[in-house]
Amino acid sequence: MIAAKNIHKAFNGKQVLEGISAVFEEGKTNLIIGQSGSGKTVLLKCLVGLHRADSGEVWFHGVEYTALSRRQRSGMRRQIGMLFQGGALFDFATVEGNVMFPLTMFSSLSKGEQRDRAHACLERVNLINARKLQISELSGGMQKRAAIARAISLRPKYLFCDEPNSGLDPKTAILIDALIKEITVENSITTIINTHDMNSVMEIGDKVIFLYSGKKWWEGTKNDILDAENVELNEFVFANSLAKKARGMM
Protein backbone atom coordinates (compact mmCIF):
# COMPACT_ATOMS: atom_id res chain seq x y z
CA MET A 1 0.00 0.00 0.00
CA ILE A 2 1.19 3.51 -0.79
CA ALA A 3 -0.16 6.51 1.08
CA ALA A 4 0.22 10.18 0.23
CA LYS A 5 -0.51 12.60 3.05
CA ASN A 6 -1.21 16.26 2.47
CA ILE A 7 1.22 16.72 -0.47
CA HIS A 8 1.91 20.32 -1.51
CA LYS A 9 4.14 21.30 -4.39
CA ALA A 10 4.74 24.64 -6.11
CA PHE A 11 7.00 25.68 -8.98
CA ASN A 12 8.20 29.31 -9.11
CA GLY A 13 5.43 30.39 -6.77
CA LYS A 14 2.70 28.59 -8.74
CA GLN A 15 0.91 26.02 -6.63
CA VAL A 16 0.67 22.76 -8.60
CA LEU A 17 -0.46 20.37 -5.87
CA GLU A 18 -2.55 21.45 -2.89
CA GLY A 19 -2.92 19.07 0.01
CA ILE A 20 -3.27 15.79 -1.88
CA SER A 21 -3.97 12.82 0.36
CA ALA A 22 -4.70 9.40 -1.06
CA VAL A 23 -4.24 5.70 -0.42
CA PHE A 24 -3.21 3.46 -3.31
CA GLU A 25 -4.20 -0.10 -2.69
CA GLU A 26 -1.94 -3.12 -2.88
CA GLY A 27 -2.28 -5.51 -5.81
CA LYS A 28 -4.65 -3.13 -7.58
CA THR A 29 -4.55 -0.76 -10.50
CA ASN A 30 -4.91 2.72 -9.07
CA LEU A 31 -5.58 5.49 -11.56
CA ILE A 32 -4.90 9.18 -11.25
CA ILE A 33 -6.99 11.01 -13.81
CA GLY A 34 -7.45 14.64 -14.71
CA GLN A 35 -7.04 17.17 -17.48
CA SER A 36 -3.62 18.15 -18.81
CA GLY A 37 -2.01 20.49 -16.30
CA SER A 38 -4.02 19.20 -13.34
CA GLY A 39 -0.87 17.98 -11.58
CA LYS A 40 -0.98 14.23 -12.31
CA THR A 41 2.63 13.87 -13.42
CA VAL A 42 3.90 16.10 -10.61
CA LEU A 43 2.02 13.98 -8.08
CA LEU A 44 3.44 10.78 -9.58
CA LYS A 45 6.96 12.23 -9.48
CA CYS A 46 6.44 13.34 -5.87
CA LEU A 47 5.33 9.80 -4.99
CA VAL A 48 8.44 8.19 -6.50
CA GLY A 49 10.75 10.91 -5.20
CA LEU A 50 11.80 12.48 -8.52
CA HIS A 51 10.26 15.72 -7.20
CA ARG A 52 10.64 16.68 -3.57
CA ALA A 53 7.25 17.74 -2.19
CA ASP A 54 7.25 21.13 -0.43
CA SER A 55 5.34 19.51 2.41
CA GLY A 56 3.52 16.26 3.07
CA GLU A 57 4.51 12.64 3.43
CA VAL A 58 4.67 9.57 1.22
CA TRP A 59 4.51 6.15 2.87
CA PHE A 60 5.41 2.83 1.24
CA HIS A 61 4.21 -0.12 3.29
CA GLY A 62 4.54 1.71 6.60
CA VAL A 63 7.92 3.30 5.72
CA GLU A 64 7.98 7.06 5.42
CA TYR A 65 9.72 7.37 2.05
CA THR A 66 9.95 11.16 2.21
CA ALA A 67 11.95 10.98 5.46
CA LEU A 68 14.60 8.61 4.08
CA SER A 69 18.13 9.76 3.24
CA ARG A 70 19.25 9.71 -0.41
CA ARG A 71 21.12 6.43 0.20
CA GLN A 72 18.16 4.76 1.92
CA ARG A 73 15.88 5.97 -0.82
CA SER A 74 18.18 4.44 -3.47
CA GLY A 75 17.70 1.04 -1.84
CA MET A 76 13.95 1.52 -1.76
CA ARG A 77 13.82 2.58 -5.39
CA ARG A 78 14.92 -0.87 -6.51
CA GLN A 79 11.44 -2.02 -5.51
CA ILE A 80 9.89 0.57 -7.83
CA GLY A 81 9.40 0.15 -11.55
CA MET A 82 8.36 3.11 -13.64
CA LEU A 83 7.05 3.48 -17.14
CA PHE A 84 7.78 7.02 -18.28
CA GLN A 85 5.58 8.90 -20.71
CA GLY A 86 8.18 8.78 -23.50
CA GLY A 87 9.56 5.39 -22.48
CA ALA A 88 12.90 6.85 -21.29
CA LEU A 89 14.76 3.91 -22.78
CA PHE A 90 18.53 4.28 -22.89
CA ASP A 91 19.83 5.19 -26.35
CA PHE A 92 23.19 3.63 -25.59
CA ALA A 93 21.79 0.10 -25.34
CA THR A 94 19.72 -2.32 -27.41
CA VAL A 95 16.27 -3.48 -26.27
CA GLU A 96 17.88 -6.42 -24.50
CA GLY A 97 20.55 -4.15 -23.02
CA ASN A 98 17.85 -1.87 -21.61
CA VAL A 99 16.02 -4.73 -19.92
CA MET A 100 19.29 -6.19 -18.61
CA PHE A 101 20.49 -2.81 -17.30
CA PRO A 102 18.80 -2.89 -13.85
CA LEU A 103 19.83 -6.54 -13.47
CA THR A 104 23.46 -5.73 -14.28
CA MET A 105 23.48 -2.85 -11.82
CA PHE A 106 21.67 -4.43 -8.90
CA SER A 107 21.27 -8.18 -9.10
CA SER A 108 23.82 -10.80 -8.12
CA LEU A 109 22.79 -12.98 -11.05
CA SER A 110 25.38 -14.33 -13.48
CA LYS A 111 25.46 -12.89 -17.00
CA GLY A 112 23.56 -15.92 -18.33
CA GLU A 113 20.90 -15.68 -15.63
CA GLN A 114 20.52 -11.96 -16.31
CA ARG A 115 20.00 -12.70 -19.99
CA ASP A 116 17.45 -15.42 -19.17
CA ARG A 117 15.50 -13.01 -16.93
CA ALA A 118 15.62 -10.28 -19.58
CA HIS A 119 14.36 -12.74 -22.19
CA ALA A 120 11.53 -13.82 -19.88
CA CYS A 121 10.48 -10.17 -19.45
CA LEU A 122 10.70 -9.53 -23.18
CA GLU A 123 8.74 -12.69 -23.82
CA ARG A 124 6.08 -11.42 -21.40
CA VAL A 125 5.62 -8.22 -23.38
CA ASN A 126 5.87 -10.10 -26.68
CA LEU A 127 9.04 -8.38 -27.78
CA ILE A 128 11.55 -11.22 -27.75
CA ASN A 129 12.13 -11.01 -31.50
CA ALA A 130 13.07 -7.34 -31.25
CA ARG A 131 15.68 -7.85 -28.52
CA LYS A 132 18.66 -7.03 -30.73
CA LEU A 133 17.15 -3.82 -32.12
CA GLN A 134 18.29 -0.33 -31.22
CA ILE A 135 15.74 1.90 -29.47
CA SER A 136 15.49 4.21 -32.49
CA GLU A 137 14.30 1.24 -34.56
CA LEU A 138 11.22 0.63 -32.38
CA SER A 139 7.70 1.94 -32.92
CA GLY A 140 5.93 3.88 -30.12
CA GLY A 141 4.05 0.81 -28.90
CA MET A 142 7.19 -1.34 -28.95
CA GLN A 143 9.03 1.31 -26.94
CA LYS A 144 6.30 1.24 -24.30
CA ARG A 145 6.45 -2.55 -24.15
CA ALA A 146 10.25 -2.50 -23.86
CA ALA A 147 9.92 0.06 -21.06
CA ILE A 148 7.44 -2.21 -19.27
CA ALA A 149 9.87 -5.14 -19.63
CA ARG A 150 12.64 -3.02 -18.11
CA ALA A 151 10.36 -1.82 -15.31
CA ILE A 152 9.46 -5.37 -14.25
CA SER A 153 12.90 -6.95 -14.68
CA LEU A 154 13.79 -6.56 -10.98
CA ARG A 155 10.37 -7.85 -9.91
CA PRO A 156 9.23 -4.56 -8.36
CA LYS A 157 6.59 -4.28 -5.64
CA TYR A 158 5.34 -1.01 -7.08
CA LEU A 159 4.74 0.00 -10.66
CA PHE A 160 4.20 3.62 -11.70
CA CYS A 161 3.04 4.48 -15.21
CA ASP A 162 2.94 8.01 -16.56
CA GLU A 163 0.42 8.20 -19.42
CA PRO A 164 1.23 4.68 -20.66
CA ASN A 165 -0.86 4.94 -23.80
CA SER A 166 -0.30 8.53 -24.83
CA GLY A 167 0.61 8.83 -28.50
CA LEU A 168 -0.54 5.30 -29.30
CA ASP A 169 -3.30 4.18 -31.62
CA PRO A 170 -6.44 2.86 -29.85
CA LYS A 171 -5.66 -0.81 -30.53
CA THR A 172 -2.09 -0.60 -29.20
CA ALA A 173 -3.32 1.48 -26.24
CA ILE A 174 -5.72 -1.31 -25.28
CA LEU A 175 -2.89 -3.87 -25.55
CA ILE A 176 -0.64 -1.80 -23.27
CA ASP A 177 -3.46 -1.31 -20.75
CA ALA A 178 -4.21 -5.03 -20.72
CA LEU A 179 -0.53 -5.86 -20.30
CA ILE A 180 -0.17 -3.55 -17.29
CA LYS A 181 -3.31 -4.98 -15.72
CA GLU A 182 -2.14 -8.58 -16.24
CA ILE A 183 1.31 -7.87 -14.81
CA THR A 184 -0.28 -6.17 -11.78
CA VAL A 185 -2.48 -9.16 -11.04
CA GLU A 186 0.18 -11.81 -11.80
CA ASN A 187 2.77 -10.27 -9.49
CA SER A 188 0.45 -8.61 -6.91
CA ILE A 189 2.08 -5.27 -7.66
CA THR A 190 0.68 -1.97 -6.44
CA THR A 191 0.23 -0.09 -9.69
CA ILE A 192 -0.42 3.63 -10.06
CA ILE A 193 -1.25 4.97 -13.49
CA ASN A 194 -1.60 8.55 -14.66
CA THR A 195 -3.97 8.90 -17.53
CA HIS A 196 -6.57 11.08 -19.16
CA ASP A 197 -7.82 8.26 -21.33
CA MET A 198 -11.32 7.26 -20.19
CA ASN A 199 -11.03 4.01 -22.08
CA SER A 200 -8.17 2.99 -19.75
CA VAL A 201 -10.19 4.03 -16.74
CA MET A 202 -13.12 1.84 -17.68
CA GLU A 203 -10.95 -1.10 -18.79
CA ILE A 204 -8.34 -1.44 -16.06
CA GLY A 205 -9.06 0.99 -13.21
CA ASP A 206 -9.76 -0.51 -9.79
CA LYS A 207 -9.56 2.73 -7.88
CA VAL A 208 -9.75 6.18 -9.43
CA ILE A 209 -8.60 9.56 -8.12
CA PHE A 210 -9.61 12.66 -10.03
CA LEU A 211 -7.35 15.73 -9.80
CA TYR A 212 -8.63 19.16 -10.66
CA SER A 213 -6.44 22.30 -10.47
CA GLY A 214 -3.94 20.54 -8.24
CA LYS A 215 -6.53 19.30 -5.75
CA LYS A 216 -8.06 15.89 -5.20
CA TRP A 217 -11.57 16.50 -6.46
CA TRP A 218 -13.09 13.04 -6.41
CA GLU A 219 -12.20 9.47 -5.42
CA GLY A 220 -14.00 6.21 -6.08
CA THR A 221 -14.16 3.09 -8.22
CA LYS A 222 -14.67 2.93 -11.96
CA ASN A 223 -18.24 1.79 -11.35
CA ASP A 224 -18.99 4.94 -9.35
CA ILE A 225 -17.58 7.26 -11.96
CA LEU A 226 -20.52 7.25 -14.37
CA ASP A 227 -23.02 8.06 -11.64
CA ALA A 228 -20.93 10.67 -9.86
CA GLU A 229 -22.55 14.05 -9.31
CA ASN A 230 -19.31 16.00 -9.33
CA VAL A 231 -19.61 18.69 -12.04
CA GLU A 232 -15.91 18.92 -12.95
CA LEU A 233 -15.55 15.14 -13.03
CA ASN A 234 -18.58 14.85 -15.29
CA GLU A 235 -17.20 17.50 -17.60
CA PHE A 236 -13.97 15.52 -17.83
CA VAL A 237 -15.55 12.07 -18.16
CA PHE A 238 -18.26 13.06 -20.62
CA ALA A 239 -16.13 15.39 -22.69
CA ASN A 240 -16.43 13.18 -25.74
CA SER A 241 -19.70 12.37 -27.42
CA LEU A 242 -19.13 8.61 -27.24
CA ALA A 243 -19.06 8.72 -23.45
CA LYS A 244 -22.19 10.86 -23.44
CA LYS A 245 -23.94 8.27 -25.59
CA ALA A 246 -22.78 5.51 -23.24
CA ARG A 247 -24.31 7.39 -20.33
CA GLY A 248 -27.55 7.85 -22.25
CA MET A 249 -27.74 4.12 -22.87
CA MET A 250 -27.42 3.31 -19.16
Partner: protein, 251 residues
Protein backbone atom coordinates in the same frame (compact mmCIF):
# COMPACT_ATOMS: atom_id res chain seq x y z
CA UNK B 1 16.25 41.70 -20.05
CA UNK B 2 17.38 40.64 -16.61
CA UNK B 3 18.77 43.36 -14.35
CA UNK B 4 22.54 43.13 -13.64
CA UNK B 5 21.97 42.08 -10.04
CA UNK B 6 20.02 39.05 -11.25
CA UNK B 7 22.79 38.07 -13.67
CA UNK B 8 25.21 38.27 -10.74
CA UNK B 9 22.87 36.10 -8.67
CA UNK B 10 22.63 33.56 -11.52
CA UNK B 11 26.42 33.44 -11.73
CA UNK B 12 26.79 32.57 -8.05
CA UNK B 13 23.80 30.19 -8.18
CA UNK B 14 25.42 28.38 -11.12
CA UNK B 15 28.72 28.04 -9.25
CA UNK B 16 26.84 26.64 -6.26
CA UNK B 17 24.93 24.19 -8.45
CA UNK B 18 28.16 23.17 -10.18
CA UNK B 19 29.82 22.42 -6.82
CA UNK B 20 26.80 20.44 -5.62
CA UNK B 21 26.83 18.42 -8.85
CA UNK B 22 30.56 17.72 -8.46
CA UNK B 23 29.93 16.47 -4.92
CA UNK B 24 27.54 13.92 -6.39
CA UNK B 25 29.94 13.08 -9.25
CA UNK B 26 32.85 12.26 -6.94
CA UNK B 27 31.19 9.42 -5.12
CA UNK B 28 31.72 5.67 -5.19
CA UNK B 29 30.48 4.11 -8.43
CA UNK B 30 27.71 1.55 -8.08
CA UNK B 31 29.69 -1.20 -9.79
CA UNK B 32 33.44 -0.80 -10.41
CA UNK B 33 33.48 -3.30 -13.28
CA UNK B 34 30.83 -1.33 -15.14
CA UNK B 35 32.56 1.93 -14.29
CA UNK B 36 35.87 0.78 -15.84
CA UNK B 37 34.09 -0.53 -18.92
CA UNK B 38 32.31 2.83 -19.30
CA UNK B 39 35.60 4.73 -18.87
CA UNK B 40 37.17 2.61 -21.64
CA UNK B 41 34.18 3.29 -23.91
CA UNK B 42 34.46 7.00 -23.22
CA UNK B 43 38.19 6.91 -24.01
CA UNK B 44 37.31 5.52 -27.42
CA UNK B 45 34.30 7.75 -27.96
CA UNK B 46 35.66 11.06 -26.70
CA UNK B 47 39.46 10.81 -26.84
CA UNK B 48 40.57 8.46 -29.59
CA UNK B 49 38.00 9.84 -32.01
CA UNK B 50 39.53 13.30 -31.52
CA UNK B 51 43.06 12.21 -32.46
CA UNK B 52 42.64 12.84 -36.20
CA UNK B 53 41.58 16.42 -35.57
CA UNK B 54 44.40 16.94 -33.04
CA UNK B 55 46.89 15.55 -35.59
CA UNK B 56 45.75 17.81 -38.42
CA UNK B 57 45.72 20.94 -36.25
CA UNK B 58 49.10 20.13 -34.66
CA UNK B 59 50.89 19.51 -37.96
CA UNK B 60 49.61 22.69 -39.59
CA UNK B 61 50.14 24.91 -36.57
CA UNK B 62 53.64 23.43 -36.06
CA UNK B 63 54.48 24.29 -39.69
CA UNK B 64 53.12 27.83 -39.35
CA UNK B 65 54.94 28.48 -36.06
CA UNK B 66 58.25 27.27 -37.58
CA UNK B 67 57.86 29.44 -40.69
CA UNK B 68 56.77 32.54 -38.73
CA UNK B 69 59.59 32.07 -36.21
CA UNK B 70 62.17 31.72 -38.97
CA UNK B 71 60.88 34.95 -40.56
CA UNK B 72 60.98 36.83 -37.24
CA UNK B 73 64.40 35.54 -36.19
CA UNK B 74 66.29 36.19 -39.43
CA UNK B 75 69.25 37.73 -37.63
CA UNK B 76 69.29 35.30 -34.67
CA UNK B 77 71.36 32.09 -34.59
CA UNK B 78 69.76 29.45 -36.84
CA UNK B 79 69.12 26.94 -34.01
CA UNK B 80 66.77 29.47 -32.36
CA UNK B 81 63.96 28.62 -34.82
CA UNK B 82 63.77 24.95 -33.79
CA UNK B 83 64.17 25.84 -30.12
CA UNK B 84 61.46 28.52 -30.18
CA UNK B 85 59.06 26.34 -32.18
CA UNK B 86 59.55 23.41 -29.80
CA UNK B 87 59.08 25.52 -26.66
CA UNK B 88 56.02 27.36 -28.06
CA UNK B 89 54.41 24.05 -28.87
CA UNK B 90 55.25 22.45 -25.53
CA UNK B 91 54.49 25.42 -23.30
CA UNK B 92 51.32 26.73 -24.84
CA UNK B 93 49.96 25.27 -28.02
CA UNK B 94 49.80 21.56 -27.24
CA UNK B 95 48.15 21.98 -23.86
CA UNK B 96 46.07 25.18 -24.00
CA UNK B 97 45.14 25.42 -27.68
CA UNK B 98 44.37 21.72 -27.98
CA UNK B 99 42.27 21.95 -24.77
CA UNK B 100 40.31 24.86 -26.30
CA UNK B 101 39.73 22.85 -29.47
CA UNK B 102 38.67 19.77 -27.49
CA UNK B 103 36.40 21.92 -25.31
CA UNK B 104 34.58 22.78 -28.54
CA UNK B 105 34.42 19.28 -29.97
CA UNK B 106 34.15 17.05 -26.90
CA UNK B 107 32.46 19.65 -24.66
CA UNK B 108 29.52 20.28 -26.97
CA UNK B 109 29.19 16.53 -27.53
CA UNK B 110 29.00 15.87 -23.77
CA UNK B 111 26.58 18.73 -23.09
CA UNK B 112 24.19 17.75 -25.87
CA UNK B 113 24.35 14.04 -24.99
CA UNK B 114 23.55 14.60 -21.30
CA UNK B 115 21.02 17.33 -22.14
CA UNK B 116 19.16 14.99 -24.49
CA UNK B 117 19.14 12.29 -21.83
CA UNK B 118 17.65 14.82 -19.42
CA UNK B 119 14.74 15.87 -21.63
CA UNK B 120 13.94 12.31 -22.68
CA UNK B 121 13.74 11.39 -18.96
CA UNK B 122 16.62 8.90 -19.23
CA UNK B 123 18.33 10.61 -16.27
CA UNK B 124 15.09 10.36 -14.27
CA UNK B 125 14.96 6.67 -15.17
CA UNK B 126 18.50 6.18 -13.80
CA UNK B 127 17.65 8.07 -10.61
CA UNK B 128 14.47 6.09 -10.17
CA UNK B 129 16.42 2.85 -10.34
CA UNK B 130 18.49 4.13 -7.43
CA UNK B 131 21.54 5.00 -9.53
CA UNK B 132 23.50 8.19 -8.87
CA UNK B 133 23.11 9.52 -12.40
CA UNK B 134 25.73 12.26 -11.97
CA UNK B 135 28.39 9.75 -10.98
CA UNK B 136 27.24 7.17 -13.53
CA UNK B 137 27.28 9.57 -16.48
CA UNK B 138 30.00 12.09 -15.67
CA UNK B 139 32.76 10.35 -13.68
CA UNK B 140 33.74 7.87 -16.46
CA UNK B 141 34.01 10.76 -18.94
CA UNK B 142 36.24 12.69 -16.53
CA UNK B 143 38.47 9.72 -15.86
CA UNK B 144 38.72 8.92 -19.57
CA UNK B 145 39.75 12.44 -20.60
CA UNK B 146 42.15 12.96 -17.66
CA UNK B 147 43.92 9.69 -18.50
CA UNK B 148 44.05 10.48 -22.22
CA UNK B 149 45.08 14.14 -21.85
CA UNK B 150 48.84 13.46 -21.35
CA UNK B 151 48.93 11.11 -24.35
CA UNK B 152 47.05 13.61 -26.52
CA UNK B 153 49.48 16.34 -25.44
CA UNK B 154 52.60 14.28 -26.21
CA UNK B 155 51.05 13.18 -29.51
CA UNK B 156 50.34 16.81 -30.36
CA UNK B 157 53.87 17.96 -29.40
CA UNK B 158 55.45 15.26 -31.57
CA UNK B 159 53.25 16.07 -34.57
CA UNK B 160 53.65 19.83 -34.07
CA UNK B 161 57.45 19.53 -34.16
CA UNK B 162 57.16 17.24 -37.19
CA UNK B 163 54.84 19.78 -38.83
CA UNK B 164 57.50 22.45 -38.28
CA UNK B 165 60.00 20.25 -40.05
CA UNK B 166 57.67 19.74 -43.00
CA UNK B 167 56.89 23.46 -43.15
CA UNK B 168 60.57 24.34 -43.33
CA UNK B 169 61.37 21.50 -45.75
CA UNK B 170 58.75 22.88 -48.17
CA UNK B 171 60.18 26.42 -47.94
CA UNK B 172 63.71 27.72 -48.04
CA UNK B 173 63.82 29.82 -44.85
CA UNK B 174 65.94 27.28 -42.96
CA UNK B 175 67.50 23.88 -43.62
CA UNK B 176 66.04 20.79 -41.99
CA UNK B 177 69.41 20.12 -40.30
CA UNK B 178 69.39 23.58 -38.67
CA UNK B 179 65.82 23.00 -37.44
CA UNK B 180 66.69 19.56 -36.02
CA UNK B 181 69.72 21.04 -34.28
CA UNK B 182 67.44 23.69 -32.74
CA UNK B 183 64.82 21.29 -31.40
CA UNK B 184 67.57 19.30 -29.62
CA UNK B 185 69.14 22.32 -27.89
CA UNK B 186 68.56 23.44 -24.28
CA UNK B 187 65.67 21.05 -23.75
CA UNK B 188 63.95 21.50 -20.37
CA UNK B 189 62.06 18.28 -19.47
CA UNK B 190 60.04 20.17 -16.83
CA UNK B 191 58.24 22.05 -19.62
CA UNK B 192 56.72 18.75 -20.75
CA UNK B 193 55.60 17.98 -17.18
CA UNK B 194 54.09 21.47 -16.96
CA UNK B 195 52.27 20.96 -20.25
CA UNK B 196 50.92 17.56 -19.18
CA UNK B 197 49.71 18.86 -15.80
CA UNK B 198 47.94 21.74 -17.56
CA UNK B 199 46.30 19.42 -20.08
CA UNK B 200 44.96 17.18 -17.30
CA UNK B 201 43.51 20.14 -15.39
CA UNK B 202 41.97 21.51 -18.59
CA UNK B 203 40.42 18.11 -19.39
CA UNK B 204 38.87 18.02 -15.93
CA UNK B 205 37.53 21.55 -16.47
CA UNK B 206 35.93 21.10 -19.87
CA UNK B 207 34.40 17.70 -19.09
CA UNK B 208 32.94 18.86 -15.76
CA UNK B 209 31.71 22.22 -17.06
CA UNK B 210 30.14 20.69 -20.17
CA UNK B 211 28.52 17.95 -18.11
CA UNK B 212 27.13 20.59 -15.75
CA UNK B 213 25.48 22.49 -18.60
CA UNK B 214 24.11 19.28 -20.09
CA UNK B 215 22.77 18.26 -16.71
CA UNK B 216 21.18 21.70 -16.24
CA UNK B 217 18.86 21.26 -19.24
CA UNK B 218 15.34 21.17 -17.91
CA UNK B 219 12.59 21.91 -20.37
CA UNK B 220 13.13 21.76 -24.09
CA UNK B 221 15.32 20.70 -26.99
CA UNK B 222 16.07 24.37 -27.62
CA UNK B 223 17.76 24.42 -24.24
CA UNK B 224 20.01 21.54 -25.33
CA UNK B 225 21.48 23.68 -28.10
CA UNK B 226 21.68 26.76 -25.88
CA UNK B 227 23.43 24.86 -23.10
CA UNK B 228 25.86 23.21 -25.53
CA UNK B 229 26.97 26.68 -26.58
CA UNK B 230 27.17 27.77 -22.94
CA UNK B 231 29.26 24.67 -22.20
CA UNK B 232 31.83 25.58 -24.86
CA UNK B 233 32.00 29.27 -23.94
CA UNK B 234 32.25 28.65 -20.18
CA UNK B 235 34.83 25.89 -20.65
CA UNK B 236 37.00 28.13 -22.84
CA UNK B 237 36.87 31.01 -20.35
CA UNK B 238 37.69 28.69 -17.43
CA UNK B 239 40.59 27.15 -19.39
CA UNK B 240 42.04 30.60 -20.10
CA UNK B 241 41.73 31.67 -16.46
CA UNK B 242 43.29 28.43 -15.19
CA UNK B 243 46.02 28.70 -17.83
CA UNK B 244 47.10 31.98 -16.26
CA UNK B 245 46.87 30.62 -12.71
CA UNK B 246 48.78 27.42 -13.50
CA UNK B 247 51.48 29.32 -15.40
CA UNK B 248 51.93 31.60 -12.39
CA UNK B 249 52.01 28.60 -10.04
CA UNK B 250 54.10 26.12 -12.01
CA UNK B 251 56.62 28.19 -13.98
Amino acid sequence: MLPTSLYRLNFFTDIGRYLLLMRRVFSKPQRWRIFYAQALDEMMGLGISSLAMVAIVSIFVGAVIAIQTSLNLMSAPSYMVGLATRDSLILEFCSTMIALILAGKVGSNIASQIGSMRITEQIDALELMGINSACYLILPKMLAMVILAPFITIFSIALGIFGGLIGLALTDYLTVEQYIEGIQRDFTPYYVTYSIVKSMVFALIFVSVSSFWGYSVRHSTLEVGRNSTRAVVTSCICILIFNLLLTELLL
